[in-house]
Amino acid sequence: MLTETRGTERWKYTNLKSFLEGSWELAESLEAEDLPSRTRFSQYEGEKAGEIVLLNGRFIPGWSQTSIDGVTIRQKPLTKPQASQAANTLAAQDKIASTFVSEILEVEIAAKTVLKKPIVITNYVIGGESLSVLTVASTQIEIKVEKLAEVAFVEYFNGEGRTLTVPVTSMQVAPGARVSHLRVNATRSEAAQLGMTRITQARDSFMETYQLSLSGRLTREDLEIRLMEPGAEALLDGLYIVDGKRHSDHATTVEHIAPQTLSSQLYKGILADDSRAVFNGRVRIHRDAQQSNAAQLNNNLLLSKRAEADAKPELEIDADDVKASHGATIGQLDPEHIFYLRARAIPEAQAKAMLARGFAQDVAFRIRNEFLREGAIRAVDKALQSLNLGQDSGGSHA
């Protein structure tokens, strides 16, 4: 199932095979009487309008709170990918999802609904006892945001054991609608996640989406945004924190299809120990997308000499009247920054922690929706607490 990823450009730096070895089994469906106590799982910490809880890929109504004005949630059976859909537009995630998913969860936000607090979609996966078995759970969520609605979503992932989570989320944003979206991968275990998010935006719609990978053994997140009509604007930012032997790979694609569309992305990474992280950002400005504006930046902070970051921006421009920029940096904590803090009585370890936090929270501070911003800051602080800023810091002085 994963063979098609090998040798392809978009999967150049991530070899799934080494992470996903062993036999695979479908995560078991838990009945109400078998449900573990919810308190054993961490939760998204922040205010919310309602919550959809998925356990091992299945909707758990008893743990969910879904009566929200203007919001309709329904389950529908999965139709297999249509033959008309060219095989090469399907990602590895789609193929796994179509094998392991039996139903789609549909979330519809009625026109002009205003929800500043987020609808939280919590996704837990419990792996089996044996580490040689990979427990797979996949979900497929389709979100429709109707005209002029303003809504916020959080997708929160956590679990335990050796698992593979394959969440496939699609979002259609109607004219004039405004969406704030935060994805938090809070798993810190043997978990692997191959995520796919596809967003389609209509005229004058606004989307801010933030990916926090904080992070499991393996994280691969694909994000595709299609700006279909004039005035569509997308802000897509991300933060990945990896340590130990963890690996993260973020692949974004922004398609500027219509004129006067705007995209801006900032992806930041903190890498400690022997970790590795990849950022591959593709921006395509189509021939008709005149007067569009695309900015992309990827900054990596290496806390260890053994960590490795790969940044691969790709810009394809077929229109002539556009503004586009991209850049990538890979560096260490600046010794002059560390010295400045130490000269103000702040001990070295604390100085490094402050600087790393500043670097990371920069992404969270950009979130416009205040509820999401607070939730993100909290999640990032939690992840930083367990990070090894270590003696083997590349930021030591010359």
Binding site: P335, E336, H337, F339, Y340, L341, R342, A343, R344, A345, I346, P347, E348, Q350, A351, M354, L355, R357, G358, F359, A360, Q361, D362, F365, H397, A398
Partner: protein, 252 residues
């Protein structure tokens, strides 16, 4: 008792000798000014006192009074020195994106308070305390929420250094070209701030290119640093003479 004693200090940077036998003694309550041509080692001296790791001391000693005993300053980590009251106002204050001025200053203040056995100040109490100090350097409150020095103008950065000095009340404050790049209004604000912080218990070491600063902060001693050594020491009239005649008469 002396606050700082520097004896025959020799130091190099990237293998190049910069200080070649510098002697300097400072007592509490004194204001010293060090002047000298570019590249004479003025900034090196300030970085060595503060403990910058890129500067290597090859010979000599730097002793500093801690609890009525002279201690080897060079043996102390930069943050320990700061806790004992050594403060360097940077020539080029560092921009620290993502760290708010308030959090930075409070962390710094509490680290020093804790070291001195005082209680940490609460966020609320600290805000009040800082607000008063900000008036001293005519800084707007909004600067507290901004990232440290990030996007500040040159003058704002220098005022921020003096604000830090006011909050941390050091025993030995070294102002490394704090006057450079300031217009006369900003210079007055900075100098007024420094004058208000002066006391019989603390000492100030001014490093400057320009005599102008010394019209506002009056030194007890003026030293000329050239070729890695102090070659002349006088009172404030020496600065005026340097302003008038330059350094050449001393260098010959």
């Amino acid at each position: 008792m002396n606050l700082l004693e520097i004896k025959d200090l020799q130091a190099s940077v990237d293998g190049k000798a910069v200080l070649k036998g510098l002697n300097l003694t400072i007592k509490p309550g004194e204001v010293h000014a060090i002047m000298g041509p570019n590249g004479s080692g003025k900034s090196t001296l300030s970085k060595i006192i503060a403990g910058h790791p890129a500067y290597e001391v090859t010979s000599g000693s730097v002793n500093y009074e801690v609890n009525f005993k002279m201690k080897d300053l060079l043996e102390m980590e930069p943050d320990e020195r700061a806790k004992e009251g050594v403060f360097l106002a940077f020539q080029y204050p560092i921009e620290v994106p993502g760290v708010s001025n308030e959090a930075f200053l409070r962390t710094s203040f509490n680290a020093i308070s804790k070291h001195q056995g005082a209680e940490e100040m609460s966020e609320e109490a600290f805000k009040k305390f800082v607000r008063k100090k900000m008036e001293l350097v005519s800084m707007d409150e909004k600067f507290m929420d901004r990232a440290v020095n990030t996007g500040f103008s040159g003058g704002e950065k220098k005022r921020n250094e003096i604000l830090q000095m006011a909050v941390l009340s050091p025993r030995l404050a070294i102002l490394d070209e704090t006057d450079s790049g300031l217009d006369i209004d900003a210079l007055r604000i900075v100098a007024d701030g420094v004058n208000k912080l002066k006391s019989k218990d603390n000492a100030i070491l001014l490093i400057t290119h320009y005599q102008r600063l010394l019209d506002y902060i009056v030194p007890d001693y003026v030293h000329v640093l050239a070729g890695g050594k102090i070659i002349e020491t006088g009172d404030k009239s020496l600065a005026l003479k340097l302003e008038d005649k330059g350094y050449d008469w001393l260098l010959q």
